[in-house]
Amino acid sequence: MRVFICGFGTVGQGFCEVLAARRQFLIDRYGEPVTVVGAMDSKTYAYNPNGFDPLELVSVKQGTGRVGTETYQDSVEVLSGAEFDILVEVSPTDVKTGGAGLRNIEYALGNGKDVITVNKGPLALKFRHLIDLAESNGCCLRFEGSVGGAMPIINLCRDNLAGERIESIRGIFNGTCNFILSKMDTGQPFEQVLKEAQQMGYAETDPTNDIEGYDSACKVVILANAVFGRDVTFNDVRITGITSITEDAISLAASHNMVIRLIGEVSESKLEVGPRLVPRGHPLGISGTLNTAQILSDLAGPVTVTGRGAGRIETASAILSDLISIMDERARRR
């Protein structure tokens, strides 16, 4: 099985490490290794039809800052010159246009290649188009890691809860906001906690996507489309961020034995992201950088999952689960 990785930052490198760690498991399960034949970062690419040692790719990237020696202008041109079976698209997300990630996914699906992505932009903007493209070309599009990182939610709803009528999903889908709000529970002001989050690497230098709720909104869109079969985009979400949450608001909530958390909510009729009052001890009142989701279905009732929403190996773990799902699907078709 030949894999091409687009995007060789934290997640791309983490996936290579996970592939190396699970090499024997994959051989035992499928009778063949998973080979990385290509990798691309923002400026360079490396391609070898015989495959690379994934750890060697990581080492080169960490040593030189580049994954390959060849430079490129158009990522689709690189992909069109390569032979591979699965595209792992983990390039930086662009929620306004979908960016190069969208074009890479479109190219791969249009050419009958399976795709695994954690890139939220293309999914939040062109979900239905991408699903249709995959179906019309008889290939798979998997995106478990795009919502909640290592926390299983999409495959949980689609596979394990397949017989259920899912009424709603609400949850904490952004670890950065949850870190900030739970730190504010201890009396720290927003600006101070944001700075701390940036110093600890939880928040970007430009934290707009996180604190204005845009990142959570992308995830809500993906859930609405993937789980509820809706046809919505980022622009359909009613979004309120956390920038106006004051210390006063936090302490008034605390005096009523509640905390404030940024909650994404999706159902047949709702598509919202906003701060919510959560009773202390409620499953949605968790602290720190964790993500959590509460799925309400007609037979099982509420099912709650919690996990690490981001991180090198955690997100790679979700990509591995998608890889296994695709390889199982291919084995069934054979």
Partner: protein, 163 residues
Amino acid sequence: MIVNAELYVKDLPGQLVGSLEPISVVDGNILGVVHNRERIVNHRICINITFEAEDDQLERLKAIWKSKDIIISKIGTAYETFTMDYMLIGDIDARYIERLINKASTIADLDGVEVSYSSKTGDYSKRTGMLSVKTKSQEDLDKLDGFLDDECRRSGITYVRGV
């Protein structure tokens, strides 16, 4: 409607059933009965009954109980309430909240509203108010939620509702 009644019946066999039968006579539906043998007053035992009945049948029921020498010590309506908390952050004061509640009560049937404020900040644009609202139906809560969300967006106030 749902009615809760506290009755005192003679401490004799068959009195409990005798107090329940009239509810069936008026086409009522018994939801719960507590036969409180520890509460005896003047050789009478306390029975607490919760039942559903039509409003216009209540006087008839009371008349039947009285004719059977059953003492009605308390009777009142009980109903399920739906509660939700809402927080507003922005340029708000007591007059604004009062106007908002008055307007909301024309849209949804509010059973009770408690308001609390935080006045720690001197910044008028970041005042915080919290409304704890009770309604008689989920539908009223949904209407209220939509109304508050729209009003707050229009006024540039951050709206935080409960889960």
